[in-house]
């Protein structure tokens, strides 16, 4: 809710300034917005469906069942893969991670889950490809996954 308010706040302020300076340019900005919206609609719809499917199948309960008792490196790897596939809002992800930790998961597993959740997004890839290209998306997500595993290992060693 706060994020929505922040975005609309920024928009209103920018629109007021823009309108004061030039009506024509503001109108042009709306035209650009319309074009971008039209071009991104298919990938937006695809992402919506993918998010729904993954979260419906891999619900928080299913994830905690998958990772709760699983210990060791395989558990960590599964955690990273699950994190990479799903898109879970932080409002759900952090309580889930906390409960995993209390249920006996290692720091390494929880760190792998949280980090790959944030750095890698398979369900949002259609959108990322649309705006940033295939190569960029593949590389960013690939490196992100490696980074998540590395970070998990380091955190497991340190903490």
């Amino acid at each position: 809710m706060i994020t929505t308010l922040v975005i609309y706040g920024i928009l209103v302020i920018c629109l007021i300034f823009s309108l004061l300076k030039s009506k024509e340019k503001t109108l042009k900005a709306f035209k650009v917005a319309g074009q971008v919206l039209k071009k991104s609609a298919p990938s937006l719809i695809a992402v919506l469906g993918l998010v729904g499917l993954t979260l419906g199948i891999l619900s928080p309960e299913t994830i905690s069942r998958l990772l709760g008792e699983e210990a060791g490196l395989i558990g960590t790897l599964i955690a990273a893969v699950v994190g990479a596939i799903t898109l879970i809002p932080s409002l759900i992800a952090f309580p889930l991670a906390g409960s995993l930790l209390r249920a006996g998961s290692t720091v390494m597993t929880v760190a792998a889950f949280i980090t790959s959740l944030m750095m890698v997004g398979i369900v949002t890839a259609p959108m990322e490809i649309k705006y940033l290209g295939k190569r960029f998306t593949l590389m960013r997500n690939g490196f992100g996954f490696i980074a998540a595993l590395l970070l998990a290992f380091l955190m497991g060693v340190i903490l």
Binding site: T3, V32, T124, M139, G144, L151
Partner: protein
């Protein structure tokens, strides 16, 4: 209309997946459609202002300014701006993709875009509060620090690879890029027609 067919294939696959799910696992299908509807509501709320903001950016901020702030010569200052932009409390990461694509198209460096996207996803301030609450301050601050270091390294590597690039990165606006020497905004020109 071959291209429209190609575009609708992913959506068709998703619809089929939903139908399959509804037949064999109705409870999963119900959960999936509930989540989809939730996200649809969120997107309908968030995406329009984001697109309008992009339009405003396009109209008001000249390309050379973005190059100066976030381009490959922007150095530490550019990196700090990218991280700062990312940590603002402004919604899920799919909101950041159009912005990142736009900035990249306007001459921002690959390493800065990696920092921007990475901090947008992983280093948000409101998100940190939750993390501290549920995982402790030790976990949260160590993850924050390590993520930042890894993002910088990742950005440098990708920058090196993309310096040798042959294909254009900016693919959203399909018209061919005009010669650089004119210094005009390609997208502005098409919209004014």
């Amino acid at each position: 209309m071959k291209s429209t067919w190609k575009k609708s294939i992913p959506i068709l696959i998703i619809i089929i997946a939903f139908i399959v799910l509804a037949i064999w696992w109705p409870d999963k299908a119900e959960a999936s459609s509930r989540v989809t509807l939730d996200y649809l509501k969120e997107m309908l709320l968030i995406m329009p202002p984001v697109f309008i903001l992009m339009g405003l950016l396009e109209v008001w901020i000249p390309k050379d300014k973005i190059q100066q702030w976030l381009g490959s010569r922007s150095g530490v200052k550019g990196a700090l701006i990218s991280i700062l932009l990312g940590t603002l409390p402004t919604g899920p990461v799919y909101v950041a993709f159009p912005l990142a694509g736009y900035l990249l198209g306007q001459g921002a460096s690959v390493s800065n875009i990696i920092l921007f996207l990475g901090s947008w996803a992983a280093l948000k301030i409101p998100q940190m509060m939750l993390e501290i609450k549920f995982l402790g301050i030790g976990f949260a601050s160590l993850r924050f620090g390590l993520t930042l270091v890894l993002l910088v390294i990742m950005g440098q590597i990708m920058q090196k690879v993309f310096n040798k690039k042959t294909e254009p990165l900016w693919t959203m606006h399909e018209e061919p890029a005009p010669p650089k020497s004119k210094g005009k905004d390609p997208i502005l020109e098409t919209t004014s027609k």
